[in-house]
Symmetry: D2
Subunit: 149 residues, 4 copies
């Protein structure tokens, strides 16, 4: 069964170029002996921020006096294989589609054998720090996001 955000798996998985390495920490396991299901979302967040840093969007969002911040509007993960302590994973990130003030980000995690262990997606929206309302991408932002795609 395919996740609804993946039309053709081969095509979808081949479109990633950016990735970030993580190692599964002991404190991220649970009493069932594997990676707890809440942890991939922390990996997604770290990898997404690295991706936005590389694109050049992160600086203004991290500035406490900056006008806008990115917030996650929705997030999902499909767990394909169990993951265990000390596994080295690569978390791939890509911008799938760019909206008016939002971006749909896709994720793919591979283990050392090259197996895809989980996939995911989620929409990130740029909002005003004070207003809480969506703030459209500037043309410059949009260009940066397009180039990264």
């Amino acid at each position: 069964m395919r996740a609804a955000y993946i039309t053709d798996f081969e095509t979808w998985s081949s479109e990633f170029s950016f990735s970030m390495a993580v190692s599964v920490r002991f404190s991220e396991t649970d009493m069932f002996g594997h990676l707890n299901n809440t942890v991939p979302f922390a990996y997604f967040e770290s990898a997404r921020i690295e991706y936005f840093k590389q694109i050049g969007l992160m600086d203004s969002w991290l500035d406490p006096s900056g006008a806008n911040i990115p917030v996650v509007a929705d997030l999902q993960c499909d767990y394909l294989k169990q993951v265990y302590f000390d596994e080295a994973l690569d978390i791939y990130v890509k911008a799938a589609t760019i909206g008016n003030s939002s971006i749909d980000v896709h994720y793919m995690a591979k283990n050392e054998k090259g197996e895809i262990v989980f996939t995911g997606r989620g929409s990130v929206v740029q909002i005003g720090r004070q207003t809480g309302k969506g703030v459209p991408w500037t043309d410059a932002d949009r260009l940066l996001l397009q180039e990264a795609k």
Copy 2:
């Protein structure tokens, strides 16, 4: 915009009866001043386990010598309103549909004003602890799950 798992919001939200209370911890906030987006999944897990405990399914899964454990096959969250430190939330849980060896669990979080702050869903599959393969519900399990719906 509605999440794909919600056909009619009124109907959907009225079908929950079980809930668990949580308070947002300081360590669950992030530097944007709100609840970090990874935390609702920990709330979902806690509330889901309380729900399974009430149904009577949890005991054998928690027994280290038990044959089967439940694993999360997929999980998603839709963030409707920002949540802040010290908010008291009720995390509602219901079994939406029951499969052969799986169950589709839905979630809804309400704040003290009665506003729905995030919703979610995810499939839980019963697998063999050793085999890692799906293990069908017994008739007794199925009855417990049906009654809880």
Copy 3:
């Protein structure tokens, strides 16, 4: 063997009056099957904040435009008994000694059988949000802290 911050265990443990209840979450266990050693510090933080809220010190610290925040200068935990999933604990908090701009906070966790499962202490310092330097307690703060002791 006694922790250095406990002179007489009977006296020390009898001096707590404030406590906060927590239940051990599944995501807080690790692959050794027990509560991960990093989690008591999150319980300490939550219980400490509840304690400061009750005293009346927390409001100005949580105000984003407030001048001062409390920071943890040091923290320690002594693990006396293993703790497992779903145990209900009471986390006790007391102000042991009050310094110029700091306070030494002690912690004690009891399980449902009344057994002490871990203890701890740590110094909290009030600093200026911008300066990062220690800010002495006002006479009013000191009075609140003394009364709570």
Copy 4:
């Protein structure tokens, strides 16, 4: 003010040779804008395990059918400087003293400027997985630990 476990800071800090790199994740910050005080203990755990892996002690502990596991008997952290999102830290680990079935492990975290941002220590005890009682080091273990010192 010095932590009680540090006699001479110059000597103490010069005795570390093993270290592990970590980057501060966004989800590890809190609403005060800095690294939450509970997180250094997760860094300590990861670095300690890497250290034990390098020594050669970790394999039998991670084997689910192994007789013994290491548990943390106590743990403490002294926070010297505030740490922020995305800082790259090196977490140093050393075995300070070796007991009968325990080991006193010391920690030191340095930022990119070479500043020591927090230090810590804690005792790790080898216990029987079933008995929960202390299990003395073998001569072979003791040799490995001595060599690593």
